[in-house]
């Protein structure tokens, strides 16, 4: 028999990091779409840098909120996030290869690569968190 505790466990309150990291991804998607919409011309970088900074800040806020959790399955989080990161390093590597292959250079490449870094970090955090939040620490 499933106890009400198990139902409560499934619905326990956690910091809103999923929403924050999805927002971070959305800001990156917006920035990449903005830059790509100007290709092959060079887009004004101000809005893209603004989106990048906002995405990075939101990502870090999520990490800080999660780091303050005591009752959390950190071991499982690191395990899942680590393997997911490996997969996203491969994906990000492919995208970076496409940037360089397509002769993206200078400040645009720096901004695109920085966006790629944020993009690469958010999914492992999201997957690791979603798995670990349902794991018991004891």
């Amino acid at each position: 028999m499933v106890s009400p505790d198990q139902v409560a466990w499934a619905n326990r309150k956690v910091p809103p990091v999923t929403g924050l990291w999805m927002l971070s991804l959305a800001l990156i998607a917006g920035g990449v779409s903005y830059l790509a919409a100007y290709l092959p011309k060079r887009a004004p970088l101000g809005p893209a840098v603004g989106l990048l900074v906002a995405a990075a800040v939101v990502l870090v806020v999520g990490v800080v909120l999660l780091a303050r959790q005591r009752d959390f399955a950190w071991r499982r989080f690191r395990q899942v996030a680590g393997w997911t990161l490996l997969a996203y390093v491969v994906i990000a590597g492919m995208i970076e290869y496409a940037f360089v292959y397509d002769h993206t250079r200078g400040a645009v490449l720096v901004v695109m690569t920085s966006m790629l870094c944020v993009f690469m970090l958010a999914p492992p955090l999201l997957v690791g968190f979603t798995v670990a939040r349902f794991q018991h620490t004891s």
């Binding site: 028999m1 499933v2 009400p4 198990q6 139902v7 466990w9 499934a10 619905n11 999923t18 990291w21 999805m22 991804l25 959305a26 998607a29 917006g30 990449v32 779409s33 790509a36 919409a37 100007y38 290709l39 092959p40 011309k41 499982r76 899942v80 997911t84 997969a87 491969v90 994906i91 492919m94 995208i95 290869y97 496409a98 292959y101 397509d102 958010a122 999914p123 999201l126 997957v127 968190f129 979603t130 798995v131 349902f134 794991q135």
Partner: protein, 226 residues
């Protein structure tokens, strides 16, 4: 023995409009799980998170996409974009609008059995299809001059960026984590049915949303190609 397996006995399903998971429905799920465990010895086998045997196929697919981009082969880029996009779209629509409602009406043990078999495969299939489609599509658009702002239908290209961006955020933020988390839950000696119900509801719901958005993608892509 499974004593309560019909839809009427299960209480709220994945698509119910009532409370997310009632205690009564969870109790029924637990009862069904316990019964099913006695009936099927193979249930003791741990659930596979990632089908390791399929990884070489993933490696070949990724290498082929890299080669297609590296050689700028129009046929290869077309193949990966059209074939990958077609399968991805069909799979999303199938999961969201065909399998999702069916899953919601299945008995709990059957639902869990299907989930255990289906989800590990989706962990590999969907990301590979998405990577193939997007990487080949972007390179193809660049190669054909569709990315150029002077292209007469450039607005449609930008619209496709927006649609894909939204789909990617939903898929990466909600769908994929739910897929993996449900597999971890199923690996536990005593999975919590409330957690499985919550995660599967999220998975099917987000698959439905991305499936609906795929219709928008189809409209955009056929506008660009015609």
């Amino acid at each position: 023995m499974v004593t309560r397996s019909g839809p009427a006995a299960q209480g709220p399903t994945l698509f119910s409009t009532g409370p997310a998971v009632s205690v009564a429905s969870v109790a029924a799920v637990e009862h069904s799980l316990a019964g099913a465990a006695h009936e099927t010895p193979e249930r003791d086998a741990p659930v596979e998170i990632l089908p390791v045997k399929a990884l070489p196929f993933v490696g070949v697919a990724v290498a082929a996409v890299i080669a297609a981009i590296g050689t700028n082969s129009t046929w290869a880029l077309d193949f990966f974009h059209v074939a990958g996009g077609g399968i991805w779209t069909a799979l999303d629509l199938f999961l969201g609008f065909v399998l999702g409602p069916i899953l919601g009406r299945m008995s709990i043990p059957a639902r869990i059995e299907l989930t255990k078999k289906l989800m590990p495969k989706l962990v590999l299939i969907i990301p590979v299809l998405v990577t193939m489609t997007l990487a080949a599509g972007f390179q193809l658009a660049r190669h054909n001059g569709m990315l150029d702002t002077s292209f007469s239908r450039h607005a449609w290209v930008v619209a496709s960026f927006a649609v894909v961006g939204v789909m990617a955020v939903i898929a990466i933020g909600l769908l994929e984590p739910a897929n993996i988390a449900v597999l971890f839950e199923l690996r536990k000696p005593q999975p919590n049915p409330a957690v499985i119900e919550k995660l599967m509801r999220r998975f099917i719901f987000t698959a439905g949303i991305t499936g609906a958005m795929q219709i928008g993608t189809l409209i955009i892509m056929t506008r660009l190609a015609s």
